[in-house]
Symmetry: C2
Subunit: 291 residues, 2 copies
Amino acid sequence: MTSKEWENRVAYLGPTGTFTYLATQELFPNEWLIPYKTIPECIEAVASNQVDLAVVPVENALEGSVPLTIDYLYHEADLYVVGEVLSPIAQHLMVNPKFADHWEGIEGIYSHPHALAQCHKYLYYRFRGIQLNPTTSTAAAAQYIAENPDQCIAAIGNSSAAETYGLKIVQDNIHDFHFNHTRFFVLSRTNQRIERDHRDEQIKTTVMITLPNDRSGALHQVLSVFAWRQINLSKIESRPLKTGLGDYFFIVDVLEDENAPMMRGAMDELSALGCSVKSLGTYYTYQNSHD
Amino acid sequence: MTSKEWENRVAYLGPTGTFTYLATQELFPNEWLIPYKTIPECIEAVASNQVDLAVVPVENALEGSVPLTIDYLYHEADLYVVGEVLSPIAQHLMVNPKFADHWEGIEGIYSHPHALAQCHKYLYYRFRGIQLNPTTSTAAAAQYIAENPDQCIAAIGNSSAAETYGLKIVQDNIHDFHFNHTRFFVLSRTNQRIERDHRDEQIKTTVMITLPNDRSGALHQVLSVFAWRQINLSKIESRPLKTGLGDYFFIVDVLEDENAPMMRGAMDELSALGCSVKSLGTYYTYQNSHD
């Protein structure tokens, strides 16, 4: 099949076998998926029209927000969020098949720093003293293990990484917290939400708000604008404006359509209060079942 | 001088030559400074009475909060903040002295990922294509360069790292943003603020607040408690509770003494609203001049 037969080109944080790959594959089973090495490269790929959409992680239930994604969307890119994917995160310990019976003697463990952190207790009780080696992704760790078949070493990652790189899972679900999820944004140049049958009912709008100059109580005023209208927020977070310690912008997730009358009123009032306000668009949530 | 002659043992995020070392040294010129490898180890050292105080980074003007510090203080430790230090961050490129005249041909650059990010534009325009290697600290990068004198490689770090490891600074102030600061917490088991002559006038209290179960508008109510009393907040930030996506606690910096009558009233009302509230203590700010 040539590239022209695909409807969309979708960038994702690669390589094949990452958690972002799993999220992307389930939402876009029939599109052309293209791996990029870093979050900024994914975002730039869609901003510069190399691809139509990009899928990047934005928040994890344990680690919190992915600052690189939020900061890049605020400071560098002019894109819309057209969908979000929630994926359960399950981490497994995997080795080259020839060490499948000797995995308890592994001499080093490789994974993304977040994955190592997510398995902290397991690693502490089971492999204390064994060297932990950070890699750029869980899939890169699996690839490294596959490329060094003579070393008795292990990777931590998902089942797709094991499959992609021909490794054997010797301990599954070794993550410490069993409700762990990651949230991914689907980004586009056009403000046109993705509408598939398996979407959640609840709609969400993400707004970036910069307060007027350090006026005392300004954030309280901003929240009042939403509160008296009974518009619910599912998240509010501050990030540095990069102009000095103590200067922040806020990223707010609002459970309302940006085109609803109450929401338009709220946005107008925020501007009238002296805030700089930017909506990243209204979108649906898709629950991912893979791990 | 033996250890018994020191008044306090102070843990800091080491090794010698880190930015935390500089901050610690200026506030505690006459104490026994003990380097620890990680933020949790620093915090555990004071919690378990191995040391009297610990100095750890909590926020950077560009990167935002240090999640490990905030999460560890919320979930794992029961300590007080007894002071904060603000330090300017200046990054320099340094090599082994024998390469001082050939530094433009360096084949690899080593530093902490945050330092590499802080010099992103410089590195992009000056050393595009050269391999960037992450290390656990800027000082560890300098140490690596010193230990590999035959390789034409460079570290990025502060002037103390260059001095400690015998390196030559060949390009100074290569960081992209020139107002960059890092904020450090001084932690103690006892709620007794550090009072030195060169403190700032403004007092600050850090409070951790968990909202009642997902009640709509709860954060707005929390801010109202401070707003009607004209108590100013210098920062509010959400962090995951680690119980699932969408569950957060808030860390709030309040410009008031925790023992002031208005502040006691505010804390009592927050509890009455169903919030779980924990004050980390009231403390002074110390401006650090070193880079």
